[in-house]
Symmetry: D2
Subunit: 384 residues, 4 copies
């Protein structure tokens, strides 16, 4: 495609967090440009946000419905190639449905919807419209995560026996939502966040990362959810035992009250031949451990790194890439699919980004965990 | 006391592991000397071991019963001040009982006995004989563990909300016990090891460490134990959810099949004011994390470290002390108690070593975990 | 400014390294767009590179002189706000002079010129034309480097006594330039690189970083340069003793033959009150060390971090920013200056990017080091 | 030898540091016992120290000359097998000479003497008396240092090109010697310490470690010594450029004013095939780096570690050994030599401890560095 892809954004106005991340990740490689947006349900705020972003005011809207209507009417040469949905969870499904059905490709933040039922409905819509739908489980965009996955798939670890995945944060260790802090307010509000706070915000990343790397699917789980901060309406901490289909066991714990932790998503995978570990806060390294030879530190950008990781490398070894670059990698894959769709070509065979199916599995995980915890932290099966 | 304490050893002959550790830990500070031993049930092997250790052959025995008899008959100036029991688990209770009742102080390796019932019987004996009984949960001897405990007790962490303690090892990732390797053989044998392998060998260290630092006692737990290696008779992996009395939650996982892991006992404690973490493989550091100021690395041997840690410091900051020094710290405390007992003085008030009560609590933990797992990983209460 | 800044690029065609870095760093924040370029002296290659970058072919040139001529003639609404020079060293001065004198602002890669004399001439031109000139010593764009500088300036370290700065790499440990590898070929060629290879490529970053953080200027130095790889024409390793004006001492060593090192730029600064260290490969952390309290780990994105660092933070703590983000920070500051210049406003007072003065000081450093080494590694004064 | 070796100590009374280290290192493995000592030139203090150490008062002396006289007269069954000299530097040569000539084997702390001339005289005495003389450059006792040396000797690194060795400490960043602190007082006093403070105390360890691992000998050096703390009589900081015989280059820097540094002895060795690094504060690991495969972390106690390292391993992998264990390894080798000497057997062929030759080379290094610095930090040749 000999032009940049054009996109619009739903949500992500002033004071938002993840919208800015998406914009940066989408444009950093010079393959896409933001040209429209419904950044806020408050039209003035939306316009101010659009002005911050140097957009044409005519393409800044006070609602995503207005945006869908107006943008669908644009001529081909101006038409949006995709939209990015970065609103709170309860506002994922409605715009996703609207834009998909209006013929737009969609990139959507996680968790995919407010409930498993909604996720399944969205899956039906995606399948029917045949549009590209990308779910930004951004950590799977990391080059060394891809290397980890490649090692597992190549059998370097042997049969996987155990998975330990953890995601402690500390930013909600006080009742931040009561102060009006925007990020906290919606995440701790069941109406906007759904049945889970910590699990939906970060637990689902942990589940997705472990699944992406190992290829294993959960069979059942036992979840002990806790609300430590008085007055909070949803859980802020979760400890889970996992049983994967095929016999592997696991532990997943995540927290928003782990004071002093920032964004400490860590994965350890133990096989019967070797093991690996990856730490999101030191994302350029992958540790591989053996029974009988020295521990190895695989570092992004080196010649010995495999093709799957090399493809997602912008700068040489020793020049750290981070969170935004990993996020950008999801977009690079999305662009391949979107460019094909826009150009009327079949999608490439080797696309590597999270899809609506990952979204459905993630919502199933959240709902199973909440159900387990409500029953006194008993084992429950994952819905198929 | 103006002489070295004299001790004898039960177990720890050629090919043993923990016996050599005890000997080194006991003598390193020049306060005790090994003078007798029943190192093996094979008299020849016991004599050879005694010769390795430069002992008088007359004080080397083919059985601990022979040793108890002969040593009890020695004159005061030669009499053992204590014995050290480093046999497999099934041989803890019988010699402990025998020597305590014969008037000797006892240092015993963990887990304290083969079963909770035995542990309780031993507790009765200890209380009745009024002899010193020391259980070598050696990691609690580490100076920075003591610093961690002091911080918790001083309220620096606030109210404890969450504990994550883990202890992965990889040395039993194949069926090593079938090769005749001595350490593996007895640990994987229910007759000598008891109802647990991984939990008894290392899980109990993890439980004890978390309890020592936080002062919290388990209320209930949910344990998923697995035997990954075909043909093995006991579990080699354990994942547990924990609920402490008072409301704190926790995760404990340990493994002997985590390939490439060595002895990676790690503790994280999260309070409502601050958090801490300690890693046994980097034992001279304690990480303290706050919501609102830089993370701190407390390092052994510095002037800012508190009295509890300073007391157990031999060399200046930056000169690493390790596993053996921590183990030796347990002995230094034991010596204070033993010297008082031998001298007919009341025990010091501030003794800091694991006791028979820790042993009982540790066995209760193991039995609860096994019971939970056998019931399908359901929650069970800790026996009081 | 209610539009993106427009820029063109000199160099950076297919197969180049630093051109792609500049493009990414310049556009990531959505404040600038690439619209023109003379990417290669080979017109075909330049056009192919322009096509890769989705540019209008009419604004892709086969030489920077053609570009200067054509772009100067564009109407105001299309006119370039700045050009970026990313050619080998010998092609810094000529285009910089040409574009500055044609009225364009300039961003230029380091080292600024081929020689100190050229750097001084360029300084005269910059002063005369009053255009913005930005030298991309990108590591000083890092948020935690800015925090380090702020701590030094606030007196937190007291009087600086010692600086240790090092920059080992290993990529030229064989005669890579003989294989046709483009990056190696020009750096090892005195005609294109100047009198130094390792010092010009990375040593000058180390000198600049130490100066930026400490505010200290070199008084004299003693340099031992070595060419380890047979057949190489320039040095590939350098060890220097430093004496700063005011009495601080220092060590600087850098290498391109340190096998297995990637981009290990590290800085340690020791004052009489505290010390700090920063590691480029773990750029989100700053270690602060004291005599009498725990070591601190300052981490990017936290509330306790100062204003100078906060300003250059895109994502929250624990979401690693890396090399490209730091590079982008240089551009964000450049944009403030360029927007003012383009808008006819005086430059902001608090601009924070490397200037032509840094370029002159960097070239003086390189020439002093080469002179010292040629004289048998004797001490030489830095030219004033 | 079927008994413990008997030793006496010169120096190391109450308030001393290194004496306690030697005692612990010597006895930890149960192969030696302290039976005599002249712990202080103050007879009362010496007796009190002896009592602390539970010694027979009859074998505690007020001077080493008295000790030499009395101990030489002991019957064979009580006779000292060796003495340990842990006095300040100026009191190394006199007792070493006295005891060697009286027929005792000697273990001596470093630096070996007060001057190079003295070291050479001592070498003559050692050769003439044929007694065992061991110099405790303790860091070379570390198992992973031995592994590093084995890798270099086996050619795994190829030809060595560059060595970076550093040893920053911060404990003398103020004028501690003026407060009466005993360790500082003698080290900063030229009469007791010699011509160097920082270089003699720690620089010589750095030089020795680099030489031990690489097998390279210095050809010439350029040293910039500084006294940062006002009123101090000797240097407290040193920066050196090194040229090894055979063409390798190096950097050595050490400091006692590097605030917040503890005992940060670090070694990096770069060859033309691979590189390695070792950090004293994390002594159980050795990092090996390659151009074309993942970085390796070799960890003490694993099966893949070579024989030279395995021999000096007491506990399994993951159970950290530290400073004292490394020190103890020097003693284990010393014991092999001493036992042979005492038993009238020829010394084992494969002894691995620092000798008087290392002492002479260390003193030559110190004197060359001081000479270089006094001449304005000019290059000087190492005396042969």
């Amino acid at each position: 495609m000999n032009r940049k892809l054009r996109f619009g954004m739903i949500g992500g106005g002033r004071g938002a967090f993840i919208g800015a991340v998406h914009r940066l990740a989408a444009v950093m490689d010079g393959r896409a440009e933001l040209v429209a947006g419904a950044f806020s349900a408050d039209p003035t705020r939306s316009q101010l946000s659009g002005a911050d972003l140097l957009l044409d005011p005519a393409r800044v809207y006070g609602s995503y419905t207005a945006m869908a209507r107006a943008e669908a009417a644009r001529p081909a040469g101006e038409r949006l190639d995709f939209v990015v949905i970065v609103t709170p969870n309860h506002q994922h499904f409605p715009p996703a449905k609207l834009f998909l059905e209006a013929g737009f490709n969609v990139v959507c933040d996680k968790p995919v919807t407010l409930s498993l039922a909604e996720a399944r409905r969205l899956r039906t819509i995606v399948r029917r419209t045949k549009k590209v739908f990308v779910l930004t489980h951004n950590y799977t965009g990391n080059a060394m995560v891809k290397q980890a996955r490649a090692l597992v798939h190549a059998g370097a670890l042997g049969r996987i026996r155990k998975v330990v995945v953890e995601y402690p944060q500390g930013w909600l260790s006080t009742r931040l939502e009561a102060t009006g802090q925007k990020q906290a307010a919606w995440r701790a509000d069941p109406k906007r966040s759904g049945i889970a706070c910590c699990l939906g915000d970060i637990g689902t990343h942990a589940e997705n990362l472990a699944r992406y790397v190992t290829g294993l699917h959960l069979g059942s789980l036992c979840a002990d959810l806790t609300t430590f901060v008085p007055g909070r309406l949803l859980e802020d901490d979760a400890n889970l035992l996992l049983r994967y289909r095929g016999g592997a066991k696991g532990v997943l714990h995540c927290s928003q009250i782990a004071i002093g932790e920032e964004n400490s998503l860590n994965l350890r995978v133990y096989g019967d031949k070797a093991s690996l570990e990856w730490h999101q806060e030191h994302p350029n390294e992958l540790v591989v451990k053996y029974a009988d030879r020295p521990r190895e530190i695989w570092r992004r950008g080196n010649a010995y790194v495999g093709a799957a990781a090399k493809k997602f490398t912008r700068v040489p070894a020793g020049h750290p890439e981070g969170y935004l670059e990993s996020f950008g990698n999801i977009y690079l894959e999305a662009f391949r699919a979107i460019a094909a769709e826009v150009g009327g070509r079949p999608p490439p065979k080797d696309l590597d980004f999270p899809t609506i199916d990952d979204g459905v599995e993630g919502m199933a995980f959240i709902e199973a965990a909440v159900r387990s915890s409500r029953r006194g932290a008993r084992w429950v099966r994952m819905p198929v």
